[in-house]
């Protein structure tokens, strides 16, 4: 059989160099007014985004695989997303 594990288990097998600061900033009001939170939660393959009980968007930037899918979806102004500083973030060993 094949046990691919949960997404957090998979990410734990990946290698990352943790950046000091987050490369993702959320404008909670813009996300809320566009109703974009659930979309961001389900499209991110790394489960970077989750929703707090109060509906706000929680970001775990350290899990990010840097694909940019969230940025392609995010309503204008709701997300500031750039690549993390040089040398940090996901470090693929296979690719």
């Amino acid at each position: 059989m094949l046990d691919i594990g949960t997404v957090p288990e998979r990410l734990a097998r990946n290698r990352y160099a943790l950046a000091e600061t987050s490369h993702i900033e959320v404008d909670q009001e813009a996300v809320r007014s566009a109703g974009a939170a659930t979309l961001l939660v389900r499209i991110c393959p790394a489960h970077v985004y989750s929703q707090a009980p109060d509906g706000s968007l929680v970001v775990q930037h350290a899990a990010c695989l840097e694909c940019g899918a969230c940025l392609a979806f995010a309503p204008p102004g709701s997300l500031r997303w750039h690549y993390p500083q040089g040398g940090t973030g996901i470090l693929y060993r296979e690719g």
């Binding site: 094949l2 046990d3 160099a17 389900r42 979806f73 040089g86 693929y92 690719g95």
Partner: protein, 435 residues
Amino acid sequence: MTTPDTAAVDFDVIVVGAGIGGCVTAYQLARAGHDVLVVERGPQPGAKNLSGGILYCRVMEQIWPDFVRQAPVERVITRNRLCFLNAGSHVTVDYHDERLASPVNAVSVLRARLDPWLAGQCEKAGATVMPGVLVDSLLTEDNRIAGIRAGGDELRARVVVAADGVNSFLCRNAGIREREPARNLALGVKSVISLPRQVIEERFGLTGDEGVAYAVVGDCTDGLGGGGFLYTNRESVSAGIVVRLDELARSAASSSDLHDRFLSHPAITPLLRDGEPVEYGCHLIAEGGKAMVHDLTRPGLVVVGDAAGLSLNTGFTVRGMDLAAGSGIAAATTIHAALSAGDTSPLALAGYPAELDRCFAGLDMKTFARAPRFLENPRLYGAYGQLAADVLHGIYDLDTTPRRRLLATGLRALRHSPVTMRQVAADVVAAVRSL
């Protein structure tokens, strides 16, 4: 008075991004004697790069004649399987051909191994490779791109090459490319599953360095536009899904669930049995075809590879890396001519799109310009796979009722399918015109 060609510059050429497009450009320009800097945000080349398809490598042999033997490639793809996947059935075309091995036409690669080799070749040719540096923006002076800004430093060059991938923040932040509509982008989600070499060869019927690549449509993406892929590496299998962003947005699906669904599909999971997942990754893919290839130059700037929108899905082959290499050759040709003539004016660099259009990369983008719209047809991702299985079921399921001939069996399957004869006819015409 100083013109850009006599002004103080740090390098002749600065290439941003040490992927295939960037390295092919840099290698050729360095070999031609130009002073080249390659800036890469990963701490080593390849650390940020992920492929979900095989490398059609004949173009690489144009640059490195012994590429297949010298570069760290995984397996020689001699077997292509095109698979229509349904919930409880699948129909696969299995094409094996020894001619695909001599000369080698395609290889599987792991980018974290290939890209350091490519960057090493650039260094051997005399280029400076600077990893671990994120370029913040392009430097604009006198209405031309004059260099880059990175970590508070400014570096100047006669020509800057944007090889910074599908998200190309360089082009976006400089206003050269706008935000891409979701229908032109797809999301790939992939696992690399480690398996012993011998198991891979026995399981897939491979000899030595031979490899197989699967292109899968249908149930793997739950009927959404996109597909699954699977290919063998030396001691692992790469498997995952690609789904169009607009389709993903419209659905209620989660991208990781689609990946899991494909890997646990009864047609796929036996191929991965007892494997150990070693890496999970994702990547955006330019799926807009020729319509996405635009704004390839600005004064002082040339754009190559994914950053230029160069990738091509024909349904059978999914290409990007070979097109990146092709654009790298076209870019290097144009830039070399400009630098040699001492003229990097906008006019001199404006020859690059024409150079690209003359080579296989530009020509193939043109030939398959209609492919992206054809592949938006929802029947490809459900009804046709089921129809194919129903026809074959009618042939093979001998339930002691009298048999019909093939045509009658086919027509009967079509009558029971949601697809109409008129749609089949229209789709065949569209396929002939697009693919």
